[in-house]
Subunit: 356 residues, 2 copies
C-alpha cells in the first residue's frame, strides 16, 4: 500500500499498517513540513468541544483516550520521547467580557458531561502564579493534555522505519503515480488537488518563545484564553519552549505578518506577563486542511476503488492521529469501516458548490 503525506496522520497510518504486516511506502518530498511542523500539539477534546459539533467531539474524546497508550507504545517502538504531558489545561478569560463569552462554552461542555471545572481567580493563580492578576476567571480541563508535534513526527518516522515502512522522497502530483493496490491520501491541504475533496487551507500563525536562563517556562499547564476578545493558547514544553498560537485566517499563503504576530504577542503577554522577557525564537505559518463542517474526511473515496482519505483534520490533526490511524488500518485490513467512521465519510458533501 501507499501513503501520500508524511505528517503525523500519514506516518501513524503507515506505522499501524506495517505493524499488521502490510508492505507500506510513504510518499513525501518534504516529510513533516506541513501542518504537523506548525501545530502546537494540544490534545483538547474538552476545550475544543464547540456548539453543534457533537460527533466531532465524540471522536476527539475517543482519540484523546487512546493517547496515553499510543504515546507509550510509540516511545517504546521508536526510542524517541514524543513529549506527551498530562498536566492538563487551564482555560481563562482576561476581562469580564472574555469570561462571559468563554463561560457560555464551558457551560455547554459541562452539559455534555465533559471534565471541566470552573475555578475562582485565586484558585487559578494557586495553580499557575504566572497568570496575570487581571485574569477574571477560568476553569480547569484536567484531561486536556499535550504532545510535541515535531517530536511526534520524529518518533513516528523511526517507528515506521523499524516496522518496515519505506520512504519515497517524491512529490505526488497525481494518484496514478502511486504504484499500490491501496492508497491512503494523508496529504493535508494537498488532498484537494489529488482527490477533488472539499479541503481548503486555513492559515495559522504560531510563535515559539523560550524561557530566559535555559530553564523551563514559569507555568506547567497548557493555558488557553481570551484576552480582550482575542483567543490565544500557550503550550509550555519541558525544555523551555512555549508555543503561542494561533491565528485563524481564510488565506492560502504562509507569510508571517506583522499583524498576526502583534495579536498573538499582545494576547499572550496580557495573560502571562512574564512572557515579555522570553526570547522570540520562531514565527511560522502553516495551513490547516479544513472541511465545510470542520470534521475530518476518513474512509473510502466514492468511485475511486482502492483510494482512502485521511485528511481534513483542520485544528485537530494531532489529537486525532491515534484514532485515525487505528480506524484506517482496520478498514484496510478487514475491508469494513468501523461504525465510528460513519459521520466522517468523504462522500458526505454535495458535489457543488466547490469549497476549494
Amino acid at each position: 500500500m501507499g501513503v501520500v503525506g508524511a505528517g503525523a496522520v500519514g506516518l501513524a497510518v503507515a506505522w499501524r499498517c506495517a505493524q499488521r504486516g502490510l508492505r507500506v511506502s510513504v510518499y513525501d518530498d518534504r516529510p513533516g513540513s506541513g501542518a504537523s511542523h506548525v501545530a502546537a500539539g494540544m490534545l483538547s477534546p474538552v476545550a475544543e468541544a464547540y456548539f453543534g459539533e457533537h460527533k466531532l467531539t465524540a471522536l476527539l474524546v475517543e482519540s484523546a483516550a487512546r493517547w496515553p497508550g499510543f504515546a507509550a507504545e510509540l516511545a517504546e517502538a521508536s526510542g524517541v520521547d514524543p513529549g506527551y504531558r498530562t498536566e492538563g489545561t487551564l482555560v481563562v478569560g482576561l476581562t469580564a467580557d472574555d469570561l462571559a463569552e468563554a463561560g457560555r462554552l464551558w457551560s455547554y461542555q459541562q452539559g455534555l458531561g465533559l471534565p471541566i471545572t470552573p475555578l475562582r481567580p485565586s484558585a487559578l493563580r494557586d495553580r499557575e502564579p504566572a497568570l496575570a492578576t487581571r485574569v477574571r476567571g477560568g476553569a480547569v480541563a484536567p484531561g486536556d493534555h499535550q504532545v510535541d508535534p515535531r517530536r511526534l513526527v520524529a518518533a513516528l518516522r523511526v517507528a515506521a522505519e523499524r516496522a518496515g515502512v519505506v520512504f519515497r522522497p517524491a512529490r505526488v502530483g497525481a494518484l496514478s503515480e502511486v504504484d499500490a493496490a491501496v492508497t491512503v491520501v494523508a496529504a493535508g491541504c494537498g488532498a484537494a488537488a489529488l482527490t477533488g475533496l472539499p479541503v481548503r487551507p486555513v492559515k495559522g500563525q504560531v510563535l515559539r518563545l523560550r524561557a530566559p536562563g535555559g530553564g523551563p517556562p514559569g507555568f506547567r499547564h497548557v493555558i488557553r484564553g481570551y484576552a480582550d476578545g482575542e483567543p490565544v493558547y500557550l503550550v509550555p514544553r519541558a525544555g523551555g519552549e512555549v508555543v503561542v498560537g494561533a491565528t485563524v485566517e481564510e488565506r492560502a499563503d504562509t507569510e508571517v505578518t506583522a499583524g498576526g504576530v502583534l495579536r498573538l504577542l499582545r494576547a499572550a503577554v496580557e495573560l502571562v506577563p512574564e512572557l515579555t522577557e522570553y526570547e522570540l525564537v520562531e514565527a511560522v505559518a502553516g495551513l490547516r486542511p479544513a472541511t465545510p463542517d470542520n470534521a475530518p474526511l476518513i474512509g473510502a473515496l466514492p468511485g475511486r476503488p482502492g483510494v482512502l482519505a485521511a485528511t481534513g483534520h483542520h485544528r485537530h490533526g494531532i489529537v486525532l492521529t491515534p484514532v485515525t490511524a487505528d480506524l484506517v488500518t482496520e478498514l484496510i485490513v478487514t475491508g469494513e469501516p468501523d461504525p465510528a467512521l460513519a459521520p466522517f465519510t468523504p462522500d458526505r458533501f454535495p458535489k457543488e458548490p466547490r469549497w476549494n
Copy 2:
C-alpha cells in the same frame, strides 16, 4: 596601517586612507555583522538633536552635509547603490501627550536654527496618507535623509578593495596582533576590551517588514514618532522593506524578546495601520557602542602611540561615517587633529569609575 573592524566606520576609514595612498589592512572575522547589520540607516541630524548635546549635534549636521557627496562618490567607486534617499523625515505624535512631549524637542531644534517645520494633521496626511487618522500632529525635517546600511557596507567593501585595501578574516584579541605602525580601532563594542575605553553595549531590537504584493511601501518619508509614550521609527526602502526600530536597552545580549517585538509592532501599527498586512521578514538585535556622554570617541589614544579610536558612535554610526572617515584620515595623513575633533577625544573621561 591596520583597521580593526569592518563595519561602516572601519570600512570608510580604510577606503579613505587607501585613497590617500596608504597601505591598509582591515581585520574582522565577521565583516559587517555588528551594529551596521542591524542599523536602520536614518541620517537625522535634526531629529536626533537632543537637549544639551550641542557639540554632537554640530558633528551630526556636518556629517549629514557630507552625505550627498559621499554617497555619490561611493556609488561611483563601487558600482553599488548604497540606497541613499532624500525624501526627508516626518516626526509625529500619536496622542496629545505624545505631541506635547515631542513638541518640546521640536521647539528646541527650531531654536537651534535647524530645519524642522510643524505641520497640521491634515498637512501631515497630505504628505503621507498612510498615517493613522489618530495622529495628533507632527513636523517635517526635510534634511533628515536615509541610507541602507547593508548596501552601504557592501559598497564600502567593494570600494575599499578596489582602492587596494586588504581584508584579513581574523578576530583581533589584542592590538599587539595587528602588525602596523598605525592602528585604528573601529571595533564598536569590542573597543572596550581592546583599549579600555568606556564603551558599553546598548541593545537595540529592530524588525524588517515587507510590503505585500512585491510593491514599495505605502509611504516614502522616514516616519519617527511617539505612540502612547513609545518611540518608534519606520524607514521605507524602495524595494518594499520597512525597517522598524528600535528598542534601547542597557543589556549586552542579542536575544530578540517577545516584549521588544511587541512594543515595536504595537507602536508601528498605531502610527501606520497598513503595516498589519506587511510580512514580518526579520527580527534581530544588535549592540550600539555607547559612551558616557553619547558622543563618539575619535582620535589618538593617550599613552598608546600609533593607536587611534573611531568608535562609540552609539545611535549615530551611519550618519557619522563620512565625517569620521574624513577626520581620521586627515589626522593620520597630516599628524594633526582637526579642531572639530576636540570635543570627541578619547581621553575626555576620567579613568574611574569604569563604565564597562
